[in-house]
């Protein structure tokens, strides 16, 4: 089934994204967080079997975290981007790893980089970073230059270069 028909069937508003270079159509839709699982299941049964990615966007001005679930269908050759918005100060969502196994990995990354909690995913924790002691670094209010100055620039040089053997 074409993505447009599914959207219509589910009664979701969608917009078409601009595409240059590539040729398949891409649709973007904003959905309610609690309906997302059902919608993804619907898409999955309708041929959207390839889960491309889960991205997170930190909309600091709006105070939102946007999670973008990106699906692709090899049958109809369409991309679907399903967005949900979570409150920024306490982002929390349930895990969807039972739908597509790679969602688990994406959730681990989003958790580490943005601080989004996924209930039911027991593998959250240190993933990419190690010994991290600051706020999740991909958040917009994390100042990487300041962090670099504090952490790395302040380390002193060790003298002794040029000492004879």
């Amino acid at each position: 089934m074409k993505a447009i028909e599914i959207f219509k069937e589910l009664g979701i508003e969608y917009e078409e994204m601009k595409v240059k270079g590539n040729s398949t159509p891409r649709y973007r839709a904003k959905v309610e967080p609690d309906k997302l699982e059902e919608i993804i299941k619907k898409f999955k049964t309708q041929g959207f079997k390839h889960f491309v990615a889960l991205s997170c966007v930190d909309w600091i001005k709006e105070g939102n975290m946007e999670l973008i679930y990106h699906l692709f269908s090899y049958d109809t050759l369409e991309d679907v981007f399903l967005s949900i918005y979570l409150p920024r100060d306490e982002p929390k969502y349930k895990t969807l790893r039972h739908l597509f196994p790679q969602i688990e990995t994406y959730e681990r990354e989003v958790h580490e980089m943005f601080g989004v909690e996924f209930e039911g995913n027991d593998r959250l924790g240190e993933f990419i970073l190690e010994d991290w002691n600051d706020m999740p670094p991909m958040r917009k209010d994390f100042d990487t230059v300041k962090y670099v100055k504090e952490k790395y620039e302040s380390v002193p040089l060790v003298e002794g270069r040029g000492d004879k053997q």
Partner: protein
């Protein structure tokens, strides 16, 4: 405790780059594997939010070292989508040349990595030696051996240099003549027939659901290729086949697909197809400008919106999700690398039951490239 633990990586010959597989082994069979990444995390997505649209072109090739051009191409395509630019035909063809050369070099590396993992060191020596001719071509074309920074939004950096196509043709002839030797050495080697088939099998019905893409998906028997399903650059005009299991042409069909053998043979056949594509491009390439007339690079403003562009790399689907809020810098860029699923999700799932002798070859046959996992 029955199992012992082995760390494959980061400092391990069998690790595919700087990453770590924490492996629990019973006897010599893997019971469980966990992928640990982050050794190469440079926070590209964060840095891209701090750099202007054009500066990012210099940054992103570093995401995938063996094949940097796919980053440039997909980023450029995503930005072009946002800007609503149509790039000139010649630029598309030149992009295709660069991408195909990159694919060739990526496949040569992948095959030599696998051959090294099963202990045939002559193959890496030859293949990487031959790959240097491709790097020479890159050098002539772009000025850099590894990082080219050649494709950027609006076209490519400059036109083909004089005599480039002739030289390209020569290199292709040479490479084609060498393929026979590779076949003799690796692809028709009896020990390879023993070791590769039915090792590291991805269940065929799960392959798409697990997010397997690229040659690994084709080795499972699906003829899906981004160049076909979501064509870009000059590929709609070009004629090429999509090698997939069990259409291996002159090669024997051993095993039941989705295994190391199919993955390697698919890569080997794609080298032939790339040569074929490049030959067509040499014939077909149109004249014209190589780039659009670009606005002032310092004051680029990209209209707000979402754009996703995907490119077929030698490892699988490479995609960029670019989000702009209309400012001078991207608001958010998300990079979808093929190794993200291959290296973590697929590897953790197919590892149990593998012999430890087959662990490194399986990882190499999936062609996992850690930098595009953690960026």
């Amino acid at each position: 405790m029955k199992e012992f633990e082995i760390f494959v990586g980061p400092q391990h010959v069998g690790a595919t780059g700087n990453m770590m597989y924490h492996v629990w082994v019973d006897g010599d069979t893997v019971v469980k594997a966990e992928t640990h990444v982050g050794y190469l995390h440079r926070a590209f997505e964060k840095l891209m939010e701090r750099r202007s649209w054009l500066m990012n072109v210099a940054l992103i090739p570093r995401i995938c070292v063996p094949e940097p051009d796919v980053n440039e191409a997909s980023y450029a395509m995503a930005v072009e989508s946002l800007m609503n630019w149509d790039i000139p035909e010649r630029a598309k063809y030149i992009r295709s040349i660069v991408l195909e050369l990159a694919r060739l070099s990526g496949h040569l590396l992948a095959i030599s990595g696998y051959a090294g993992a099963i202990g045939l060191y002559t193959v890496p020596q030859w293949l990487i030696g031959d790959r240097d001719y491709l790097l020479d071509l890159f050098e002539q074309l772009t000025g850099g051996r590894v990082y080219h920074i050649f494709i950027f939004p609006g076209g490519v950096r400059w036109d083909l240099p004089d005599g480039f196509l002739r030289k390209l043709g020569k290199v292709l002839d040479y490479l084609e003549s060498r393929l026979k030797l590779y076949d003799d050495l690796l692809f028709q080697n009896k020990v390879f027939f023993e070791r590769a088939p039915d090792v590291g099998v991805i269940p065929k019905d799960k392959a798409i659901e697990w997010g397997v893409t690229g040659p690994n998906l084709r080795a499972c028997g699906y003829a899906y290729d981004v160049r076909r399903v979501d064509p870009y650059a000059a590929y709609p005009d070009l004629d090429f086949e999509i090698p997939h299991y069990p259409k291996f042409g002159e090669f024997e069909v051993l095993g039941h697909g989705c295994d190391c053998y199919s993955r390697m043979v698919v890569r080997r056949l794609e080298i032939e197809q790339s040569i074929r594509i490049l030959r067509q491009i040499i014939k077909k390439i149109p004249d014209g400008p190589h780039t659009l007339k670009l606005p002032n690079p310092i004051a680029w403003k990209v209209p707000a919106g979402y754009a996703y562009a995907r490119v077929e790399s030698s490892k699988g689907e490479f995609g960029y999700l670019v989000i702009s809020d209309g400012g001078k810098v991207p608001y958010r860029v998300h990079v979808r690398g093929p190794s993200y699923t291959h290296g973590i999700n697929v590897m953790e799932k197919i590892a149990p039951g593998l012999n430890i002798a087959d662990f490194a070859p399986t990882a190499f046959s999936l062609d996992v490239c850690p930098p595009d996992i953690e960026r």
